[in-house]
């Protein structure tokens, strides 16, 4: 057994960096798509929109009860076949690993963010809605200017926790042969045989980023305590 040798990092660094950027880009995209879609899903349920609310509930229940890796496979293998039947002569239309990753993570996270926001909506004091009614605010302005900002604030620690999990889960794109941080490390490890060093280094990078984000969660929790935040 050789002793640890981190000098290979000097060569490895640019490739690892590009992997990390992909992980962060995927996290950011899934966060934005997930939050926008998740907020819509939560509002649809909150307003009990006929039919659509039921479909959304079924979707969320489904997504939350199957592993992310399975959803990735579905999208990667099934969606091209479905597209082929819809728009072609039955031959699969590949959508590519990168698109698969972005779409799947966005749709997957939407289910989780939606649950967070739905619970947050229920936690808003009834008096806030009444004050908006009394001030003649439209439903749109009520939610946009009063209700949702409060929900996001109160739920921000949980939203951020979910995003940390999302960041770690992006490593699953490994199965699509995409080069995220973990993917980059494992490819390098196989090339140069330095498995221990490479996996140690990526572990430290994940640890650093996730724990920095956790610190943010802790400070948010102090600023906006979950119960009785404001009257």
């Amino acid at each position: 057994m050789n002793s640890l040798d981190f000098s290979i990092l000097l060569q490895a660094w640019p490739y690892l960096w590009s992997g990390l950027l992909f992980s962060l880009a995927l996290t950011a995209a899934a966060f934005v798509i997930g939050m926008l879609l998740g907020t819509c899903f939560a509002l649809v349920q909150h307003f009990e929109v006929p039919v659509i609310a039921r479909i959304v509930r079924a979707y969320i229940a489904l997504i939350r009860s199957i592993p992310l890796i399975l959803v990735l496979f579905w999208f990667f293998f099934l969606v091209p076949i479905v597209l082929g039947h819809l728009y072609g002569n039955g031959r699969p239309i590949p959508i590519g690993a990168t698109w698969t990753a972005f779409i799947t993570f966005g749709l997957f996270e939407a289910a989780y963010y939606s649950e967070i926001i739905r619970v947050g909506l229920r936690a808003v004091n009834k008096g806030q809605f009444e004050a908006c009614q009394a001030l003649a605010l439209s439903t749109f302005d009520t939610y946009r200017c009063v209700i949702l900002p409060q929900v996001i604030r109160v739920a921000s620690p949980i939203i951020l926790s979910q995003t940390i999990i999302l960041f770690q889960d992006t490593s699953l794109v490994y199965v699509l042969s995409l080069t995220d941080l973990l993917g980059a490390a494992s490819k390098l490890a196989q090339l140069n045989g330095r498995l221990v060093e490479m996996y140690l280094v990526v572990a430290v990078v994940y640890l650093a980023i996730s724990s920095a984000a956790s610190q943010c969660v802790a400070s948010l929790r102090r600023r906006y305590p979950l119960t009785g935040a404001h009257k």
């Binding site: 004091n125 008096g127 806030q128 009444e130 004050a131 009614q133 009394a134 001030l135 003649a136 605010l137 439209s138 302005d141 200017c145 009063v146 900002p149 409060q150 604030r153 935040a229 404001h230 009257k231």
Partner: protein, 256 residues
């Protein structure tokens, strides 16, 4: 549209609110049973009665926060119905102050006051800010304009809530037990604000047990019990010589 047509008529009319044969049920419980009430412009009415008597429900029906089950409510010449397209046209003329303030916790004091004038009245940000500061000055809280509600005392928060409602320049103000959630030493500052508002000629309907306020300000005291109006009189008569046994019993209890 309906509202715009109705306004000229309403302006000539001496009344601002007409409630006729009002019925409101919560499930099997009848909260309001055949209530009739007319509020004249510039009139100040104090609604009192034991808890559960329907007084809060009555004023909440007047701006349609509660939907009534029977009878008629006409506010500023417009009848409130479930089918009406523009309930907000009526609500924008009716200010309301709640027992629990219901300020927006994520907005500063001045922003609380600016939101509805900008969104509903279409004021620009500087116009809304100027109006908000004027009214915050009037309730003597302009020095706290950039603080957040949680940083203020209960009495200060309630004065902000009054200013916020006034920023819409309502034709009538509804007060739903505005001092009940306050520590005793803060009651006076809120009542003083309300007295000042009354002196300026605002039409007011106040649910309150503050009998000193009622004596000083009210043109009429309306006593409710079990969902009905039991007695109506000018404050002097009501407090000195209540006609009904129920009013006598109620007054005995609150004077203790």
């Amino acid at each position: 549209m309906q509202h715009e047509i109705a306004t000229p008529l309403a302006d000539r009319s001496p009344t601002i609110v007409v409630v006729e044969n009002l019925v409101k049920r919560f499930g099997g419980f009848t909260a309001l049973n055949d209530v009739n009430l007319t509020v004249a412009k510039r009139e100040k009415i104090v609604l009192c009665g034991p808890s559960g008597s329907g007084k809060s429900t009555l004023i909440r029906c007047i701006n349609h926060i509660e939907k009534h089950d029977g009878g008629r409510i006409v506010v500023d010449g417009v009848e409130l119905t479930d089918r009406m397209a523009d309930i907000n046209g009526v609500r924008s003329e009716v200010g309301m102050v709640f027992q629990s303030f219901n300020l927006f916790p994520h907005l500063s004091v001045v922003e609380n006051c600016m939101l509805a004038p900008m969104k509903v009245r279409g004021l620009s940000r500087p116009e809304a800010r100027e109006r908000a500061m004027d009214l915050l000055r009037k309730v003597r809280i302009h020095s706290q304009a950039d603080k957040y509600p949680a940083q203020l005392s209960g009495g200060q928060q309630q004065r902000v809530a009054i200013a916020r409602a006034l920023c819409m320049q309502p034709k009538i103000m509804l007060f739903d037990e505005p001092t009940s959630a306050l520590d005793p030493e803060m009651v006076k500052e809120v009542l003083d604000t309300m007295v000042q508002l009354a002196a300026e000629g605002m039409t007011m309907v106040c649910v309150t047990h503050e009998m000193g306020f009622a004596r000083e300000v009210a043109d009429r005291v309306v006593f409710m019990d079990q969902g009905s109006i039991v007695e109506e009189a000018d404050p002097e008569t009501f407090f000195r010589a209540p006609r009904t046994q129920r009013a006598k019993g109620f007054l005995n209890q609150i004077i203790h």
